[in-house]
Symmetry: C2
Subunit: 188 residues, 2 copies
Amino acid sequence: MDGICGHSRDEFLEMARRFHGYPAPGLIVGGFMVDLALGALPKGILFDAIAESTACLPDAIQMLTPCTAGNGWLKVVDVGRFAICLYDKHGGEGVRVFVEPSRLEPWPEMRAWLLKLKTKSEQDERTLVDQIFDAGSRPYGVQRVRLPEAFRKKRSKGPIALCPSCKEPYPQLAGAACKACQGESPYD
Amino acid sequence: MDGICGHSRDEFLEMARRFHGYPAPGLIVGGFMVDLALGALPKGILFDAIAESTACLPDAIQMLTPCTAGNGWLKVVDVGRFAICLYDKHGGEGVRVFVEPSRLEPWPEMRAWLLKLKTKSEQDERTLVDQIFDAGSRPYGVQRVRLPEAFRKKRSKGPIALCPSCKEPYPQLAGAACKACQGESPYD
């Protein structure tokens, strides 16, 4: 089975190039994970998504579901695991899809890549991508999870104030100045 | 001037519906901000992006630039300001675009929305969107900034280990167990 969420291998690789810049192995893995999660979720519900890593997975979710970083339906909770979760945004019942390392034996190039057993220059990218597609949904486990209240409620940012320091609008709940002027600015 | 990065108003609203789910006012504002920043950036450089809010801005960047949440070129630094930055990923010189509240007087519906002076039910969405397009790039300031080293280097995650608790692969630098098993799991 080559398809990801109804897209052929070539279609998915083209979508990956357009959105992600290149068809990264992690994005293809993420595609199969989203496919599995969607299949395990009850039909017709409104769901939110979690990516447990910043690497590739947020884009697989954004390419294949309505959840994006900017519409509030995708949350990146960077615990560093290569796993995703889709969950009912009201009840919080969800499906988590994760890598099962013990299932990777039949696909050694994929296993070596996921566990970083080879350097990038030792990898055979073509074989890697072939193995990810050949493996399909088999290397992944599916787990029922439940998300706590904080992930199910839309929190209001409260009133807006003008920061006395930078003069820009900011959520007043942050305090007497915006967070950037409180020392969290990313700029030099 | 109605256009955003070469897209007509109708084209942009359609792109917004497809990617973001609906043509949110904040996404349109973000579109004009990205347009301004791209125009102020030297041509032909490789750039990364920062969104200073989780609301809408990450999607404007993802729709109009090659930078995404999953390819590492977009970073969300949630200091709560409605501002974006595009910067040279090698040198760190960047362009920051932000809201200048004092410039909003000619567009009262837009001003009321940005400063949350009206409830959602008091807002006139059609007038709001019209005013955002009418304002174009005029309500925004442009500032030269510089990003520190941490934003310019690609950090390696280091070697991968198997977590003794959940048995999943994780970056060994996190410690003896993955971050989720150390108490940062989002699940109940």
